[in-house]
Amino acid sequence: MKNATAIFLLLAALLGLWGAARVHEQLWDYRARHQLLAAAPLENAPPLMAFTTVALGGFRGLIADLLWLRTIRLQQEGRVFEIAQLADWITKLEPHFTTVWAFQAWNMAYNISVLFPDAENRWRWVNNGIRLLRDEGLRYNPRNPNLYKELGWLYQHKIGYIMDSAHPFYRRKLAETMQAVLHGARLETNPKGTDPRSPMAPPEAGELQRLREEFKLDPALMRQLDAEYGPFDWRLPETHALYWAWRGLQTARDNPGADEQTTASCSCHPDAKAPSALPGVQACDQMMLQCLAAAFRQGRLDFDPATDLYVTTPRLDLLPQVMKTYEQAIARYDERNLRTVYANFLGEAIIILHSYGRDAQAREIYRQALRRYPDLDRTISYDDFIGANFVAMQKDAGDLPPPNAVAVVEGLLFQACRRKAAGDAKHAAEFERQAKAFRDIYMQARASEDHRLRTGLPELDILRRQAERRAQEETTPDMETKTK
């Protein structure tokens, strides 16, 4: 009798559970339809996390606060071994609070990394920050353009910019990793007759899988980005920043209104010009423009881990695409600030084109700029503009960005090569002299070792080899786009 009662109760419980499960879906739909949910349900969350977020309810915030306080204390004491774990818990307790994801990733990449004097340890923390956003943050917030932008920022600014003295190490590490996976600069399709064992052969299935699973890069989307705006060198941090900003834009386009639903973006960036202060979509757009401009200035990479060679030079062929994208953005946003940024970019492009001897193209852009910007002083001729800019660059050499200086020096050396090939030794020597003089002025403005480490130029011989290769490539069409 006792057993029969137990079996009956067990069956009743099972029946009740089955009934509740049946009703549960309907209730969930009802809550969603009538907007009774404070936040959208978690997607792709493991069962333990889904349970924790539901079971803790309002106490999640309290626990997250306590963990956050502990993080601050440990960080102040320099005891950082626990920070990654605490960041993991804090973000999982508030998985939809994108500011938390952005802050924790930024904290690891920017604040904790610099606690270590050696580049290897710093790189580990930069990577920890990237992984937190890329592998976890985007997994739980796949429709949030802000998080794509924050991830792009880590590539663009932390790895790509000169702020951290260890940035050359970060750049090399990224290039080494991507080169190992891609077998080169970009994702090539397998041309017929390529030996798959060759180091330059396209990536195999396992490597494509690594791209997807470890780096969260979708090969199809990489190809699409290359086709629309590039092709790009995927060993460069700016290309990764471009990819994530572009993904953010796509996400926002596929999910209209997602940007408005998201929480405020992270205001932790020290750089006031950072795209962080803007709404997600516009920030992604701005990041794309910055990265495309960077690809024009320094999108061609010559990298050899064996000799520690890492030189970036301009991708002149990208200029029309960059200009087109700028003009589309200006049409979309119609902002004074964006027009000023574009005018500055055009000025830079004119100087770079002139350095490479492409004066016809540079003059045409100068004319376009005068047409587009009525406020510009029309009494200044093209030649005066070039002369004044060269004087200003040499006068303020200490503040000149390294990619612009590399472009000028390599451009002058490129012209020297061309003149030498044409048998004009006199002018070739003059361009050589100008290149050397410009490089010397630039380097003399960098008295401290730290300044040289962050912003120093490669040796003149290295830049001369780049210029010679470029001159050779220009003899055959379409070669310029093929970076080594």
Partner: protein, 429 residues
Amino acid sequence: MLSKIIAISGLTLRTAMRSRVFALLIAMVVICIAGLPLMIKSDGTAAGQTQLFIHYAFGLTMTLLSIAAAWSAAGAISLEVAGRQMHVLVTKPVHAAEIWLGKWLGLMTINLIMLGLAGGLIYGLLRWTTRNAVLSADDQVSLREEILTAHSLIAPEQTVSKPAPPGGAGQTLSAVPPGETQSWTFRVPERTSPGNALFLQFQFATSRLERQMPVTGLWLINADDSTKPYRTLGSYTPHVGHALKLPPVAPGQLLTVTYKNVETAEPATVLFAANTGAQLLIRESGFESNFIRALLLVLARLAFFSALGLTVGALFSFPVAVFTAFAFLFITGLSGWIGTEALMAEVDLSPAWLAGLLNAATYGIIQLANFVTPPLARFEPLSFLPTGAFIPWALVGTAWGILAIGYGGTLAVLGFWMFSRREMGLAAI
């Protein structure tokens, strides 16, 4: 008397062994500790992973066992009173103190078994996750020298720097302007084993506004018997602890350590704390003996929680006793925070008299809590073990003296008295 206490403790132990709660507790401890390495997410280094595992495994063990100790002790007397088993015992010629002590001894035996099991499991997993096949030789050496060890800090015998103006920051800070030097002398203790690595631990601040911009410095280390000083040039981040491995030095030697500020890129004055800016890190013992001392610190706090549970169980019914014990456990867990930050906190509101009143009241309550709760933070094994810091036997002795004998003894006397006065023959409805 002793035989009665032992008999009661045996009964307590047997009852606990037969209970499902005990089996559940063992299962929980085993599952939590064994599953921990799979769940934790460290900074990506072997050292970080090991530190995190020790920290969380030990923290988890302490939390689980403290709760279990308070819970089981609260029920040891109160549940037997409710279930009338205690009536059989108190009608025999047994004193209330003997019952209390017998129960406490039985509970401590359970605590010892549980702690031994958890400790063994933590140690086994630690060895398994840091075995030769898993880690590189460099990682092994670094772990052995920095974390899986027990080291202590030796303060300098003498600090040689420019005389500081009286009453200024120079009393607490030693400033090293660009191009200048600062020296410390250390006597290498005789107990130091010649084969063990010596480290110089230092931390500094700079005069720069940018807090964490590295500074280039030259360290010159000279022992009595060395002809040429050991030199090492490096870039060091301010506000972070650094450990510099020194060349072998014989015990008893006088070691002169000099720091030269050679930063040229962006010159800055380097500031060392006068007493703790640079210290010598020496190996005191192996990790295993330190681990055992850490377990003994945990056992001391379990002794206190068991005494607490028994005393409140002697006075109240089980639910009330558990609530009281847990409330006290919670407040005790905050003792570190109460003793430091909470005492300094102030309410700022208007009118001022209300703020003053609230501050005075809060201060009084916090002072009372600080006075009543045992200083658990002082005997916190997690402050030592994960960083490889040495736990002196004196600290273990003090922990047992204060937690088990001082607080535990006071609770025991209170428990005897209350239990002896408790009316057992109340009519049950």
